[in-house]
Symmetry: C2
Subunit: 147 residues, 2 copies
DNA sequence: AACATTTTAATCGTGTACGATATAATCATT
DNA sequence: AATGATTATATCGTACACGATTAAAATGTT
């Protein structure tokens, strides 16, 4: 038996599990808004800066268009965003928030503090969180540049 | 604009992205073995202890049967595991490694060091990794007990 | 201008995730 | 022993992820 193959020695498994459990924890918070976690991420991007190309959202979220396109189509069907062909470059698709999409921001503004609250019930202090963010950024940047 | 809704302030987005990028990084390592990352996790569990119930694997990986069952069915079709009805309790399904499944362990033994190597190209040192593991465990245990 | 090349999205197919539901087998009570 | 409650998996439907391919449009070259 190889010790390096023990599940408990796998950092990656923990990342995978933590990510899944957090997405699950978001569900009850996002359900009242009628959106999923990846859709929430798209809205975060658009709330920061509206009228973006699919490629802009793609770069920001590190997701390919084959993931984002159907996601945006569902959001369009829900009336959260509108999509229009680019005028400068006809291949591009411009994504814009609808009034409904903009209004959702109000309902979402307390979600981050709810999540922080849920996590700080544990002994996860401010300082641990900062270290975590910095370590994750290191990992993300390392793996991003591998393309 | 609410600062708490800025994407860059979201710990959760980083976890989500790091997890996805790591799974992507595993792909070229797992492809020669003909398995996916979740299938690799199931094998890690079975390599540690063979002949487990679906519920055992479920608890170990924090995944529900509705995720694991089809996963195991694909692995069975690939000849990596076999599934049989429990003798003591007919509701249970016993999952066992086939010879092919056992043999894969040999081919997999260098995968962890490959991943560690890829990550240590960044400035992620041994110490950061230990802190990361401990923080993730805190998060996981907090969210697990919320059920 | 005509055409090969590149770029940008969308489409397609497979494999997870996961809530909700169904099925089947055991257990607890009567 | 019969039946209602519980438990262990499996099934179903929806929504991602992502590699591979396609389609359309802009760009570069001759």
């Amino acid at each position: 038996m190889y010790p390096q193959l023990k599940l408990d020695n796998q950092v990656c498994f923990r990342l995978y599990t933590a990510s899944r459990l957090i997405t699950q924890a978001y569900r009850p918070l996002l359900e009242p808004l009628g959106i999923t976690y990846p859709q929430y991420l798209v809205l975060l991007v658009l709330w920061e800066k509206d009228n973006l190309l699919v490629s802009d959202i793609s770069h920001r979220l590190e997701l390919e268009s084959n993931t984002i396109t159907p996601l945006l189509q569902r959001m369009e069907k829900e009336g959260l965003v509108s999509r229009s062909k680019g005028v400068v470059d006809g291949r591009q698709t411009l994504v814009s928030l609808t009034k409904k999409g903009i209004r959702l921001q109000e309902q979402a503004k307390d979600i981050p503090s709810c999540m922080t609250g849920a996590l700080s019930h544990s002994s996860l202090c401010e300082n641990d969180a900062r270290t975590l963010v910095s370590t994750l950024d290191t990992i993300i940047n390392t793996l991003k540049s591998n393309d």
